[in-house]
Amino acid sequence: MKPFAYSRETGLDHALARGKEDGVRYLAGGTTLIDLMRLGVEEPSTVVDLRALPLRDIKADGDGVQIGALATNTEVAYHPLIAKAYPVLSEALLSGASPQLRNMASVGGNLLQRTRCSYFRDPSSPCNKRMAGSGCPALDGYNRSNAILGVSSSCIATHPSDMAVALLALDAVVHVRGGGGERAVPMGDFHVAPGSTPAVETALQKGEIITHVTVPASPFAQRSHYVKVRDRASYAFALSSAAVALDVSGGVVKSARVVLGGVATKPWRATEAEAELVGKPPTSMSFDAAGAAAVRGAVPRTHNAFKVELAKRTVARALRDLVGKA
């Protein structure tokens, strides 16, 4: 690992000021950054530790909930406000990583989690995300874990987060602070597809810090569910996942959320799938139709073609489980 300077900030304003310096990286849980530093993918000259900032609270926010950016994945997953009112978020968090990692990983860090694409994580390999214009070996290389949705000819790296998939399904909003003050970014705008600039992964600007996330109350939040398909039962990223939420009344779906994980370059809201569900009774037939709609436009490659079928089935299973559960 390249040697670096370390400092710890206790106030948000000081921390924001440090962010303007060259070569600075913020440290929260460290579960992504430290790994990338060991691999030589990230080589900051200074690491500014944010863990002493007062951004860890989880509290009611009107009818919804506000989650501090430094709250750990474990704290969020088991918080009574979350576990009861937003089961999809709790389930998504608990399906991720391992208990040790969840005890360290923060909400803010999870939103900024970098891809597990093996070419991105190998500094001796070309990668448009790491080095613009160097090429994307994943296109024709080993791309089993790579994305089939939201891809471009520059990048097919999968967004690895489970939590972000659930937050998107819950219409969450990310609150950030920067030199210019505060702004609120809806989850749907927070992550961006790679297009021709895969280095840009989120709407977060240089020097900005995520302070908290708000999750509103919604008619479907409580009837929500997360299904994750992975290579083993623990400590694995999603091959395919689905966060689903339904508002059913009078035997008909009033509103729906279907968000895919593990198959797209960002948490992927499948609005066509949602459209298949709304206005119909929640039946296996409409669930299968939603699954099929969710992967419309998918671009499979040599090693990840199975994800098209798998994502379909994941959506259908999540909906089926959800209805069975209620």
Partner: protein, 756 residues
């Protein structure tokens, strides 16, 4: 001699140091002035090396740079054929082939420098599969890409096939597998003109490394010393490969004039070092309507990678185990180890046997399915019995009744109940289907054929000044319990307490060559020598007048101490003598392939999710006859660990090759099961003592690797009626088979024999 320690679970000798962090692994060790080494490797599979350029931006004058030109002796890693260079010189034969070595005190700068070296290579056509190697799409080794070819012949195969009711042919494949020891490969080397080379490292076989260093440096054994440090697992992965990394570190140390440490990171260890040989097997069986297999015609091929290394030995073990624990009277087995342009495949727990056993055990279930005979029943109709012969003509001397073992394993697994329950449940709606499957097999203890005779292993025991007894052997503790069982065996031979026995650090300057720590031989072969040597020491002591029977441990220690004070030293040695009945013909592969076998029945229960095609093992029964259990906890641990590794091989661990290179060289992409993925593994033992093992013990290290693959895939067949022809049976493989509705007719082609 009375057993007081053998058969009990005494604390492991090195446990305290390990759990308190006192144990020192190679990366915990440092020497004054020590610097770090790294390896520049080929990115291409095959080609001509035209030049090496040291790229810009690196202070190269600070670096030690070693190429093939710096090798003082012969540029080869000495093993069997010596065809593998230590550093590529002119020709490249596989991706990750080492070409240049660099050393520098700053590890971070060293990595930058490694990336800055440019290898100018003219690419040549390469071979990447067993079929292409056999078809000679390019000739990449010798005249025909074949490292070695062996055949086994028994009876009259032509007549058997002519007279059978039906002939069933099946094609089976197994993938590569990474050993995934917790501690990566690592060594430290120092060099001086007086002492020569000294190696400290994480390794299984100190004398293999010494043998490799001697020709490389052109020195005698007294100037090539190898010391094993605490080693975090090997599984075969540290059998032959450490000779490579040790040679590299030694070359750097010689040129640098200071000690050099090389520690591979996980990605380098996965991509560049050895793995289990991929295999493909065609089994043709001549079968009678009642399920009797009257003829077996097996074509077994393994992919050895770019250099021959140990492939011929892996091949021979695979070949000998290919016909299983069955009495089939007519057998023809062709075995070939072929060259491809991937890093050489090497030793890995099981050593060829799991591959050939997978094919036969899968095929038996396909035969049973075709004939309508249950998996347990078809095996009962073919089991070998004591006095009958195995494929090599070896008469079974072990007192084993496979029917009894099978009964016990089926009972423990709840076979009948589960069969009935699954049959009902699987008809219900829902995507989850369950099945149960088994495999019956044997595994030979020790080196194949005359191997042990040629090794002529030696073990010593010596008394220390304070009256303890120290075992001197090159057999290494790599987590499997060598030191503990040696102390148990020596303690019982001497009639003293466990604490009286110490086990010396394997160091070629101080311990005799007890052979490599491989082939399930440490307990049976080396353990027996420990016993014999200990009995010799006891005899000397009793004859000296310093000790009289009966004696207590305290009296023994006092006597030992007095003897050393009087005579300076007290040592005894034992050398391996082959059991007199063993006759083996290396040319015809006829005779006693192994002194003894361990016998086993494994039963797996699986569930298959037909929505995601995931197969999960829910219960596992592993019953084996092992002669004698020396240490119940360690023995069960060996079985549980081996079954876990077998489950990984069967369902999860998929090495993806891209032009001969492992594409998924990290643990995020190469999926090994975690404890959550593993079922309860119930290790059960039967004991039928082997007269040439210590207290009757036979080998168990490799055995548990053989059974899980076929038992699990047979259980998948039971669950969903789909015969999977290759492992790992990842969800993609299951999906492919499912969508193709792979049935008996696809995995396995049946031909009814017409009768004139």
């Amino acid at each position: 001699m009375k057993n007081r320690l053998i058969g009990t679970s005494v604390p492991r000798k090195e446990a305290f140091d390990k759990v308190t962090g006192r144990a020192r692994y190679v990366d915990d060790v440092s020497f004054p002035g020590m610097i770090y080494g790294t390896t520049v490797r080929s990115k291409v599979a095959r080609g001509r090396l035209r030049g090496i350029a040291l790229g810009p931006g690196i202070p190269w004058d600070e670096f030690v740079v070693v190429t093939a030109k710096d090798i003082p002796g012969i540029n080869a890693i000495h093993l069997i054929n010596d065809d593998q260079p230590c550093l590529a010189d002119g020709v490249i034969n596989h991706p990750e082939e080492p070409v240049v070595l660099l050393a520098h005190p700053d590890k971070h700068l060293l990595e930058k420098a490694r990336q800055a070296v440019v290898l100018d290579i003219d690419e040549l056509p390469a071979v990447h599969s067993i079929e292409d190697a056999l078809a000679k799409t390019a000739v990449v080794w010798g005249e025909d890409n074949i490292f070695k070819r062996y055949t086994i012949e028994k009876g009259d195969i032509a007549e058997a096939f002519a007279n059978a009711d039906v002939i069933l042919e099946g094609h089976y494949e197994t993938g590569a597998q990474e050993q995934l020891y917790i501690e990566n490969n690592g060594v430290i080397a120092s060099y001086s003109e007086e002492a020569g080379v000294t190696i400290w490292g994480s390794l299984q076989c100190p004398y293999y490394i010494q043998k490799a260093l001697i020709p490389l440096f052109g020195v005698g054994p007294e100037r090539a010393r190898v010391i094993q440090l605490e080693t975090g697992g090997g599984f075969g992965g540290k059998e032959e490969y450490p000779s490579m990394i040790a040679s590299h570190a030694a070359l750097l140390a010689k040129k640098a004039g200071v000690p050099v440490k090389i520690i591979y990171d996980r990605a380098e260890d996965m991509a560049a070092t050895t793995k289990r040989h991929p295999s493909r097997t065609v089994v043709r069986a001549a079968v009678m309507r009642d399920g009797t297999v009257v003829g077996l015609d097996i074509d077994f091929a393994i992919d050895g990678g770019a250099y021959s290394t140990l492939s011929q030995v892996v091949l021979s073990r695979g070949l000998i185990h290919a016909a299983g624990p069955y009495s089939c009277p007519n057998v023809h087995i062709l075995g070939r180890a072929v060259a491809t342009n991937s890093p050489p495949h090497g030793a890995f727990r099981g050593f060829g046997a799991p591959q050939s056993i997978f094919a036969l055990e899968r095929h038996l279930d396909e035969i049973g399915k075709y004939l309508g005979i249950a998996p347990d029943e078809i095996r009962r109709r073919n089991f070998v019995k004591p006095g009958q012969t195995l494929a090599t003509g070896q008469v079974v001397r072990d007192d084993v009744d496979m029917n009894v073992l099978l009964d016990r394993a089926l009972e423990a697994a709840g076979w009948g109940d589960k069969k009935a329950r699954f049959a009902v449940e699987n008809r219900e709606e829902g995507s989850v289907k369950r099945g149960i499957g088994l495999a019956t097999f044997l595994h030979g203890t020790g080196f194949t054929g005359s191997g042990e005779k040629f090794l002529a292993s030696i073990v010593g025991v010596e008394a220390t000044a304070d009256g303890h007894v120290r075992v001197l052997a090159a057999s290494t503790e790599i987590g499997q319990g060598t030191n503990t069982i040696f102390a148990q065996i020596a303690g019982d031979a001497l009639g003293v307490d466990y604490d009286v026995i110490q086990v010396g650090q394997p160091d070629t300057a101080f311990v005799p060559n007890s052979g490599p720590t491989v082939a399930s031989r440490t307990c049976t072969i080396v353990g027996k020598l420990v016993e014999t040597a200990a009995l010799g020491l006891r005899q000397t002591l009793l004859g000296s007048g310093l000790l009289e029977e009966p004696y207590s441990s305290e009296q023994f220690v006092k006597a030992c101490s007095a003897y050393v004070a009087r005579s300076g030293e007290l040592r005894a040695y034992a050398e391996y003598k082959q059991p007199p009945y063993i006759k083996w013909d290396e040319d015809t592969f006829k005779g006693d392939a192994y002194g003894a076998y361990s016998w086993a029945v494994y039963v797996a229960s699986v569930k298959v999710d037909t929505l995601t095609y995931e197969a999960t093992v829910e219960d596992f029964v592993a019953l084996q006859e092992v002669g004698k259990v020396i240490h119940p906890t360690l023995a069960a641990g060996q079985i549980e660990g081996g079954v876990a590794q077998g489950i990984g091989w069967a369902l999860y661990e998929n090495v993806v090759w891209k032009n001969g290179r492992m594409a998924n060289d990290r643990m995020t992409d190469y999926i090994m099961p975690t404890s959550v993925d593993l079922p309860p593994i119930r290790a059960l033992f039967a004991e039928s003592p082997y007269s040439y093992g210590p207290s009757g013990a036979k080998g168990i290290g490799e055995l548990p690797m053989d059974g899980p693959g076929p038992a699990i895939v047979n259980a998948i067949l039971d669950a969903v009626g789909i015969g999977i022809p290759r492992i790992p049976a990842t969800p993609e493989v299951v999906m492919e088979a499912y969508l193709a509705n792979t049935s008996v007719t696809r995995v396995c082609r049946a031909t009814e024999v017409a009768r004139g």
